[in-house]
Amino acid sequence: EISVRLPNRHVSVAEDEEFDKELSKLVHESMESRRLEGRSQARLDINMTIPMNLLRTSSMLNTSRGRVEEQVVGEGEGKEERKEESGVQFKLLMKKNNKQTTRNLHIPADCSLAANTIVKHNMQREE
């Protein structure tokens, strides 16, 4: 979990509570509108095949500690911001103008998606 705490962070309880209410309302409404739609919805035509040609078959795992990920920071005093981060290089599958494409997406090790992949990868290696 990432949380940035500022030293002067002023917490206004009333506003935050109201914000939480509004947020859950928005989520609820969004779900509700989907649910209603679902009632009359025919089966979706789902094409979710993974375009293997777009994926390089070489291992995309990079779980070694040494990988350097460049953080984008404001110019100036950002030099010591270079951070070492372990994680997994994923491909994000997208559609552009109805064509499948992928983009690289680095997901840090502490995220469940990456963590599970790492576990699986290690298991495979042990076998």
Binding site: I2, Q41, L93
Partner: protein
Amino acid sequence: EEMYDFDSREREVDLPEHACRYCGIHSPSSVVRCIFPNCRKWFCNGRGNTSGSHIINHLVRAKHKEVSLHSDSPLGETILECYNCGCRNVFLLGFIPAKTESVVVLLCRDPCANASGLKDMNWDLSQWLPLIEDRCFLPWLVKIPTEQEQLRARQISAQQINKLEELWKSNPESTLEDLEKPGVDDEPQPVMLRYEDAYQYQNIFGPLVKLEADYDKRMKESQTQDGVVIRWDMGLNKKRVAHFLFPKADNELRLVPGDELRLRYNGDASHPWQCVGHVIKLTNEEVALELRNNQGVPVDQTHGFSVDFVWKSTSFDRMQAAMKTFAVDETSVSGYIYHRLLGHDVESQTLRPTLPKRFSAPGLPELNHSQVFAVKTVLQKSLTLIQGPPGTGKTVTSASIVYQLVQQNQGQVLVCAPSNVAVDQLTEKIHASGLKVVRLCAKSREAVNSPVEFLTLHYQVRHLDTTDKSELHKLQQLKDEQGELSSADEKRYKSLKRGAERDVLMNADVICCTCVGAGDPRLSNLRFRQVLIDESTQATEPECLIPLILGAKQVILVGDHCQLGPVIMCKKAAKAGLSQSLFERLVILGIKPIRLQVQYRMHPCLSEFPSNTFYEGTLQNGERFRERKLRGAGVTINERLYKGIDFPWPVPNKPMFFYYCLGQEEISASGTSYLNRTEATTCEKIVTHFLKSGVNPSQIGVITPYEGQRAYIVNYMQRTGSLRPQLYKEIEVASVDSFQGREKDFIILSCVRSNEHQGIGFLNDPRRLNVALTRSRYGLVILGNPKVLSKQPLWNNLLVHFKENETLVEGPLNNLKQSMVQFSKPKKFFP
């Protein structure tokens, strides 16, 4: 290849366009753009001083839901959307990994990432990870700005964010600095009792109407629905009709027939399509939308449509125009009416007409003594207020007045009411008296079903059957067949139609329309000396003014200021007094309304408390039998009550009780309303008992002040009720406000609120209580917590009333016992 039009707005110095509009942070990997059409602002994914990140704060506050990433961000310029269905609502999106490859994909929660939606074995649905976690975007998708960045950025508090978002609704380019400027937070000037002149009147009301208009616009335009599924149909007039579900949010937008919606289809990127249409029918949450234009409608598509509300300023424009006319045009109303409306002290004006021998009108029920008195008084005065408590025959009285006014031959009479339903009812009654009446509808409502369609202007024009109109007929037919006419024909058609409309209008004794409808250009050349406004206590003052400024010399306002007033959405405007009706102000100014005193609706035991509390004990109970006979029902109250309906009323001849429910109030799922499960359970039991004892579902109404409880009861009854779900479905469950003006044989009122420390909310308003108590003809059951409700003086009185009548009960429904519950001390004295 992205298709955005970048508008060159004036930006704050030094900051790039993509800087967070709250704090100024602008590193491309930390910012996201809101792509709501009129917004397109950038925000960062940092929390700053608030609990949610700035972008989430914005999306929630503005109710926007779609975003795109910066072109210099790791993923490049990308709109976040469901890979499968294209849904762009970020509150529904999440990542799903492939089972074997290091591939992820964005999918919407329902239906695409749902086990039943996606049967593809390659993907691991169990790992769905929402895009928004702990009130910010996943930090590896949109970077959280570093601590240093956040410290260097502009510090903005949650309150400032709220204010800024408020400001953006009226001026999207406002900045944080604008918050400091004077005027932003100023309260509007409140309404007064008396005004020096019509200019002062306009200066007070103009800004209030503007506030309400701005609020209405913002609210309606934020109601975009995505992922709408369409069922296509074709109307008899060969116009395309789209059917779809339009879920209603808590107490916000209420669609009404005639509203304009824009339907969009973005599925085909090369041919995006959109078209505006009118709502012609509403059943539950299904909308029927008649499209304006049949061309290019993607009828082969059913999914992936969006719907926006098209806000129209017409009604507000007409109010403003009426106030202006009132001020600048000396002939807009008579001198007497002018001074009266402004609250000036003028000698009451008495007219000396020849009074008729009979005050009742042909074709309408015989009037009772207080109704006759009302009609007689109206004819002799230039300004009369008539107060019609529940069930006292307001509509018949109004129709009889109109009949007598027409007999005086002073020109055409204009009859208005704020709501279309009320206008239709009155039109029907006036027609029954044999007068020539025309019902003028807004053009957008012409396709809406109405019980008085044959009296509408558009119907009458279409069915004029004289030979000199035959050219119009031919052109009309051609237009119906082809959808459109050549421009020359169209011109000719329009001018012929205008002529025909004028003829029909001129030929009428009475013209009926809504108050706003009175501002219709088709009436602009007509003058009306006599104007009657029914339900005038539900209209705002500027709304009432619209029919009056067409030359009023004799004005009759009918209503009941002891029932609910006009609905004002903007709190500021309501607080400043826009929610006070003209009728109410005139009462405060000392004009005594004539009260209709005989009620025909309620069983005597049900009218007693409202009469004593709201009408100084003046309500008398009419003889129902005669009234029923007249309406063709021919059923007496006793027959209805005792034959076949076996219900355990605690006191046999008093069909009412207050049922002690010790339930907990809860905040509803939406976070904006309340519900009470115990009361819902009890409500279902009572409803089931009624149904089992032979009561028809249409005879039962359930009233509750809270939308959360309304939805819960509807759901609970259908799910849990022991009888067929369809039976429960036919029972109307609605808010107090939407039951105003209507009645049911049996009413169950669920009060919901049950807490020791907070107030009782909506129930505090005596006028709302009055409406709630006066909806039932034969039986009333109130579900509530007497301990809590008795803290409020008025409710305390009501509880004492039930106790004294031995109808305050508890225990199981088949063994009700008088409750010995102790009341709380009321907080302050009720006048």
